[in-house]
Structure formats: structure tokens, C-alpha cells
Amino acid sequence: MALVVGMLLVAAGASAATSSREPATRPAAKGEKTDGVARILAGGVPRDVADLKAMERRFREVAAKVTPATVGVVGRGGGGSGVIVTADGYVLTVGHITREAGRDVTVLLPDGRRAKAKTLGANLGVDSGLVKIVEKPKDKGGWPHCRMGRSASLRQGQWVLAAGHPGGFRRGRTPPVRIGRVLRNTPTVIVTDCAIVSGDSGGPLYDMDGEVIGISSRISGSLDGNIHVPVDTFRRDWDRMVKGESFGSRRGGAYLGVQLDTESGGTRVLAVVPGSGAAKAGIKAGDVIRRFGGKVTPDRPTLLRLIAARRPGHKVSIVVLRGKKEQKLEAVLGRRPG
């Protein structure tokens, strides 16, 4: 039985219902010779120095164009990167940074500006998240932004460019740019050999037209294991995320098996899933979970975060308040079904 605690929080202060993202049309090619370099950038291999120089010209152009929109996103308890995709300040980032809607975060622009923003919804299954800058931009043209492209048409071997704030946003350091090629493209992940690392979460992956085609999410061990969220998932889930819906689950993650009372936002157990780690540990409906793994859990997001940081099979101590007494229990976390 899947147990997803859907959170239909309306994002306070989020901008009006009209999502103002622009249609992603390919920008008209400039007067340059596009044939040779276009073929390479679409998935080919350079043959000679002339090809290399043509590729380099494009890399430099794209890097200059996309840097102003490559932002840091920081909130309580962590941060990463993001990219502004509309003039009125919608920012694409990852679900594991936005988590639930309505949280205050700050968007850091490479030119030194800071803008207050709010988290909107997220698709935690693919790890996409949306943020909206709530300040008005000073420039007539709005916030610096890059258009969303399309990820379905990405080809294996296609050259792409990643930017972000590895190691965290640093004043005086423009968002480092890395190039690579698409290794794998599915509806839920794009895998490239653009090296990304801690702090790059939420950072943009661009095609060589300077359009956002992915959002960096996570890495596996080697340099060819860089995983990005396809931008088409943002297109598909846009309306839900704008409304502040956080949905989807990270399949296979650690699973306790309790249904929490969403109204209070606390950690009172409404129901226990039969056969789950919670049931076997003796957690009962009405219990309030006070500590998880030794850490205090004052609210639901904290508890969910602590569970998500574990893996199936972990043994964890849980302290619950039952009536007026505290009970110490031990649970073995299962695997999230779905």
C-alpha cells in the first residue's frame, strides 16, 4: 500500500495562477555557418582543429549567455543551485532543496544581487522543484533568465554545458562551467559526463543553444555518472508545482510505515501500516514521534527528512509520546513501495 503524504499547501505569496513561461522555440540561428558545428554539437565528434575552434566559439557564447541566470538557492538547512527561466522569476531547482512549498529561500545571482523567494511544489519522484522570486525585478526586462528547452529530443553524444555553484555559492567566483555529452536520456533522467558535485544540485544543464534542458540532481561514483532531471518533467508538472503541490515518492527509499496527521503538521501518528517497520516496532495510532535516531523531531518535515536520509534495513531508535509517557522503541526501516 503506497503511503504518500500529499501536501496541498497553497504557496503564500506565490505569484498569480498564470504561469508566464515562454514557449520554447529555437532561437534563430545567427549568420554563422551552422552546418559543420551543428552536426558535431548534436552528437558528433570533432575531426580537426577547425572543428575544435568552432565548438569553442559556441561554448564561449553559451557560457556568457547563461551565466547571469545561474543562481544559488539557499534556505534553512542547506542550499544548492537553480536557474531563472522567466522574466518574472520562476526558478527551476531540485525537489530535495525545495521539499515542501511555502518555505522562504534566497536566490543569489552571480552579479551579487539577492532576491527573496518562496518554494513552490516539487516532484520528489524525479527530484524536480520550483521556486518563485517574490521581489519585483528592478530592470524593465525582468530577472535575467534562460528559456526552457526540450529534453525529449536530446541525443546520445549531444554536447551539453552544466553550470552551478559547486561547493556552495561563492562571491567573486562566477558559476563554474563544464561541458560534456549526453550519455543516456530517459523520461526521468538524463545522464551526462558533465562533472557535477555537491552544491550543483538544482543547477542548469544547457544545450548549445543556451536553453535549459536539465537540472542537476545527483551523482554516482565515476565521472560519467552525473544525473540530471529532464526539463520536460518541469513542463509536464508545471501547473501542479505552481499550485504548490509536492508529490511523488522516491521509490525504494527508507520507509517507516506511519501515516502522520497532516493538519497539525506535527508528528502525531494517524495510522500504522500493517506489517511495516513501525508496526513491528510497536508504534500505535495516537503516538507522537518525539525522536528519530536520537534526533528531535519537532515537526513532520524534519521527521520525513530524517527517514529519507536512511536506507532500507537500517535499525533506528524511536521515542514516542503515548498519553503522558514516553516510550522507547526500535524499528527496522523497510523499503518504500511503489
Binding site: V49, R60, V62, L183, V189
Partner: protein
Amino acid sequence: MNGIAPAETTMIRRLAIAPLRLLCAAAVASACLSVGRAAARPAKPPRPDRPQTRPSRPEQARPKAAPTRPSPSRSEVRRRRQWERFWSRPQTASRYHSSVRRAFAPLVVAARKSTVAIYCDGQQVALGTVVDADGHVVTKASELDGPAECRFHDGTKRTARPIGTNEKNDLALLKVDAGKLTPIQWNGSDDPAVGSWVVTPGPGDMPVSIGVVSVRARRPEAPRRPLPSHGFLGISLRMDTVAARIERVHPNTGAARAGLRGGDVITAVNTTAIRTREQLMGRLRRARPGEEVKLKVTRGGKKLAITATLGRWLSGRRLNPQEHMGGQLSEKIAGFARIIQHDSALKPSQCGGPAIDSSGRAVGINIARAGRVETYALPASLVKSVVAELKARPKGRNAGPKRPGASAPRQDEGGKGGR
């Protein structure tokens, strides 16, 4: 959790002082878990094009003890097979593939004549750059740990004697006695735009690595929280295997005095079992200088117990464990006066040589592999001024202008960097 790198980690970076938390992203974790558990999966041969292989998950080291789980659904099996097919497929469409690097060969034709491989004790420890026709060679100082030999593009080998060192920028000037050498051609402009190619020649005809400029030439930021010195053992680990296997023992270090040897596999540090490289590095990073550690070592099938006393090494920066998931890093990665940052994947032993641009001329000298996504080069103008300084004041240790608070490597007991 320290030092253990899960196969899947998300990259949220905590701002608080608390240690960074790595979240396991489950959508792919299930796939990666299944890849780890597939005992029947054939071992991947190490790929020469790629600097390192994927570290395995702890489950792979213990094929039997998996906790009981419900049998996988058909879709999960399908997903598992897709991922297994993906990871075992040769990566021809990669930026690292030789078909890409080949296009750069014409650019390194001249520069390779000015590039040497530096050997100490029969192993390559760095690359070096010929800076004049008289035989002066510049390289990365902290990788040298004894008499150096320069191996040239045409196969000749020459002993190099040390002339001087600039500790701040980690440059060493050497001199070889050789006939007319070809000095590197510097680029007059050493501040290439972001996105420009950076090519690393070696003595061979193919470039060692290619990448692009990630950040323009800058004075690097001072480390936010300078790391206190941690104990160091004095070994380099092999990157082509998951286990903590020693590639090289650095002379005059705790490892050398304890009798550790290349090829040894470290399986425990005091009471901590060590199954992967990352675990060992993480564990050693927590150790203190002067600390005595009891190591369990496997050597040629035999199990040994070796006690080593750790030395002292000042690191420049506190690093997230994810920074080590992409190959070994240089020991000195901070304190340089000015750097050009690029995304080439270099090993520490591939630093010290020229970094050339698409004109074939050197914009700088590669000086450090500083993280998973970053390699630093010292700009040509900085290298030239340091070389001039060292030539004018030979046989000295030349500290160069120091910024207050800048960390520089301190060498204890004559030893040098290692883990």
C-alpha cells in the same frame, strides 16, 4: 557515514557547521542497489580512457548477507537490467573517449616537445614544463620526494637537480643537463574566456586530458574554515580498484617507516573495517598527527598487522566527500596566488605540465586537481615571474609573497603529501 560514499548522493550543501549530509536518491538507488547486488555481473575491466572506475557499494563486498526483501517486481527487474546494460556499455559517446581526444593531437605537436614526465623512484609523480633552452624545467613541487628524472618526448631520460622552490604556488624549478631543449611557447594572453578549450599535453602524441575553462583567471577565495592539520600516512591509493590498495608509499613517511609496500591492501584501521578507498581516506582524515594506528593489511594473500605513526600535513580546504568521487586529488589545492579553473580530469601525477589553448600555446601550468569538477592551472605570467625569481636566487627555498592566513604545505620529517 564519514568517508563512506554511497553510490548515489544528492548534492545539497549544508550551510550550517554540521557535517554535510548525503541523501540517497531512491529513484536511481534501487537501480544502483540492484547493480551492486548482482553477484553474477562480470567485473568491468578498467578503461584506459577513464581516470577511475565507479566505487562499489558495501553490499558488493559481502555477497551473501543481504537482508530479506520481497522478490522484485517485473518492472524492477526490467529497470535493473536497463541499468546493468547502461553501465557495461562502452562509453563511446563520451567527452573522454579517444575519438574526441584525437582531434586535439595537432594542437600538442609543439607543446609535447616541451613537456616531460617526472619520475621519482621509478614512478611518474608529475609532468614538467621546459621553460628555457638551457634545461630549466618547472613542475609541481609537492609531488617530488627524492631525486627526479625527466623523461622527454623522444624517449631520452635525464636526471634533474633542484634549483629552488616557491612553496606558495607549489612550483619547483629543476635543471637538466641536456643539449638544446625546446622551451614551451607561452601565450601572451593567459586569461582565456570561460568555455575555451584547455588541453594537457604529455610526452606522447595524444593529449593527456581535455577540458574547458570553467572560471576565468582569479585569485582563489581563502578557505572559509581552514582545516586543522590532520594526520597523514604517506601513501597513494590505486584508483582502478575499489579496495584500499596502495599504489605507492612515499619515502620518509609514517607508511614507509612502518614497512607498508605498494600492492598492500588495507582492510582495517584500528577497529574500523575498511572495504573501499573512500572509507580509508575518510578514516585517515579523522586521524591526528602523531597518532598511532593499527592497520590490518593483506599482502600477497597473507594477513599482516602493521602499526604506523601518522605525520602532519596541512590541508588547505575542508572538502565534501563527494569531491573525492572522481579521482584522487592533489594534496596542495589551495593558497595559490592566481588560478585558471578548468574541468579537465587530471590525476595529481599529471599536474606540473603545460596547459595549452586552441592556439597550441600554453596559458599556464596545471598545478592541482582540486575536486571532482575542478583542476587549477597557474597562469603563464605567474609561472614566468616565479621562474625568474627562482633563477635569480638559486639553491634557496623561496617562499614568495604570502597572504596572511594563506595555508602552505608544511613538510614534517622530510615527508610530503599523501593520505
